[in-house]
């Protein structure tokens, strides 16, 4: 099955004009499957870490959003143990006019601004609300432990 023009264009642009702190490289044998890395934003508990993700473009992309998941363990109220991400643009607010690039930027922004009021990982969110400093310390520890080479 040939790849839609939209996916080819997006991939070309991701290669030609990469976003700072983000890389997305398609698999050789499956051009809908991307290896992604996102650098933790500065002044966040994830600063200094490089997080691995996988991204898959489903058959009806861009009518449906890409599927994205963290591979690196991360302590974050909107990301659960399986790496699934709670982010509106990946769900109800997806628009076919959005792109891989914009989605990855949104994820990077989520690392810089955790939202414990819309949690996916309840235990983390709970701790984030009760004792934010301790939660941030844990997030830093995990970053150092799992997200640095």
């Amino acid at each position: 099955m040939s790849l839609p023009k939209r996916i080819i264009k997006e991939t070309e642009r991701l290669m030609a004009e990469p976003v700072p702190g983000i890389s997305a490289v398609p698999h050789d044998d499956n051009l809908r499957y991307f290896n992604v890395t996102i650098d933790g934003p500065s002044q966040s508990p994830y600063e200094g870490g490089t997080f691995k993700l996988e991204l898959f473009l489903p058959e009806d992309y861009p009518m449906t959003p890409p599927k994205v998941r963290f591979l690196t363990k991360i302590y974050h109220p909107n990301i659960d143990r399986l790496g699934r991400i709670c982010l509106d643009v990946l769900k109800a607010n997806w628009s076919p006019a959005l792109q891989i690039r914009t989605i990855l930027l949104s994820i990077q922004a989520l690392l810089g601004a955790p939202n414990p009021d819309d949690p996916l990982a309840n235990d983390v969110a709970q701790r984030w609300k009760e004792d934010q400093n301790a939660a941030i310390d844990t997030a830093k520890e995990w970053t150092a432990k799992y997200a640095t080479a």
Binding site: K5, R6, D60, P62, M63, S95, P96, A97
Partner: protein
Amino acid sequence: MFSGYTQLSIRILTSLPLPCSPSVPLVATVNLPTPPPYTRQPTETGLTPCLYCQPSRQNRCLAHPATTTCNQQRERLPVLVILRRDLGLPPVSTTLPRRSSRKRKPSSDHSASTGVNPPPRKKVDVSGAQRLKKAALPATPTTLGSTAMDSDDEFSGHSSMEGFEEDAFDSDMSDELVSDMEVDADAGFDSQDKIIKPGRKAYEVDYRVYSPAEIRAYQNDQINDVSRILEQPPEATAILLRHARWSKERLIESYMDNQEQVLEESGLGEDSAGPPRFQQIKGFVCEICCEDEEGMDTFAMKCGHRFCANCYKQYLAQKVKDEGEAAHIKCPGDGCNRIVDSKSVDLLVSTDLKDRYQTLLIRTYVDDKENLKWCPAPNCEYAIDCGVKPRELATVVPTVRCKCSHDWCFGCTLNDHQPAPCRLVRKWLKKCEDDSETANWISAHTKECPKCQSTIEKNGGCNHMTCRKCRHEFCWMCMGHWQEHGNSWYNCNRYEEKSGSEARDAQAKSRQSLERYLHYYNRYANHEQSARLDKDIYLKTEKKMTQLQSSSGMSWIEVQFLEGASQALQQCRQTLKWTYAFAYYLARNNQTEIFEDNQKDLEMAVENLSEMFEKPADQLKDLKGDMMDKTSYCNKRRIILLEVTAERLKQGESHRSDFGTSEANSRAGAWEFNTDLSA
């Protein structure tokens, strides 16, 4: 060999929590096509609890504090299933001539014995059943909610059951019917304020059944009305109304206050004008598919987010087909809140999806309106309009009948549960669920003959059992002598509260409360099961009737009385079932006894009718008149019970704050419950 025998599960008996015992063989006394006696091993433990022991009986068990001998083991006998007919036994009622004669003149006999005088036949039978029918009539499609229907339309929706009733009643009722029609026919979608009209039965509510086409027509009328007032095109008005949850007044008011804000919030943005159309634009590149072909059709709504027509179409198809969205589809542009209006959808969506889109719109319309609900029957597409509000459910049980003939409660959408109010039903079902382990064993389908201890398996709906072995006749429910039931039904439906001395023992107390619950649960479950069995037998009989029809030359109409009887049985058992949940929560006082008397009368009428179904099909032809009398009597008893119960329930209206909790209710003549039903 045993194709006609429904093997009932007795597996549950093995996990009985109570230690009481008579473990004995099974002998069933039902009429079934294939007869040969057969043996089956008793259950593993062989334990059958004797919950049904009457206080007067000698053999009592550990479950009954004052007893000693019940837990003794009896000799195990082989399990037998023996059919009454195979034994050459005569049909049950011919062995009881006295009861038969009772049945022939049910109304006079029973009004004397119950203390509740049945109202004159005309009023009860016709106004009850016919009113229900009337309420369930189809609305005239084009003039929804505006005019009365003529009587021809009215009779087009009859089921055969109703046809039968008419047959049975005086024919001069049709005039009254038509005039009733005219009074009620204008009850439309917005008739919330006139729920219970004077002259209506206390247990009935106003409602109307609507087909999807009728709802669509009504919705469109409403849209067009508001469209003229707001001077907005209908597509935009539809979006505005949906956003306002179909509150016309609220929409118009806020629109007059701040037009721009209302448009913005509803996803219409700036003023919309001009019909939606495709455009070709030089040098256009579609942001979604990256196509840039010259002369390609493109589309944008007022917000200006332009995409190629193909992408727009694909986007809408995805939303409608895969995501089931309709009323709230937004522009595909990132972050744009503009709602795609129906005219744009018309332009962009294929014909088959347009139907689905319309269906989805209607669905949101019904979901949005408090006075509209879909009929919960599977695959039924009708909706019902009823003005009963959630807060009224403590005092009204809004049973409605859909055109598909499903009877359901508008308050909670469960199956008809009159006379019990929704909250009592919820409480009862919760209790049954919690206690299902304990309750399971009581719903087992086997019991021992109270005389010879042979075990009886019940296969028909009738509660009049005749032991195959000793020919003892008894009541399946209370295990009492059937003859005594013929006279007064002593305590079959009534739970005899134990004396205070027994209640002192804590264990006795908890067992007693379990026993009390099981008393009611057993009867509740029994009517549920009997209704199913009645239906089974009816279906078998119906088959025979069809054969009879072709051999004897009886017309289809002539055999319809069977269906009428079957429907009456189903409906009455449904009511009886819930009277036991109701009675469980009733505080005991003299009102309770009136309730139980009515319950008893209905139960007796039902059992008498149910029994007739066990007769061989070839006898049914001659029993037509008798059966029709019994059917009409059943319906009458049901109406009386519902009427009396509903009236008292309504008395709680002025004391809603302490519904079911206080003496205030009792003083006002309302039901007094032994539990707080407001929670």
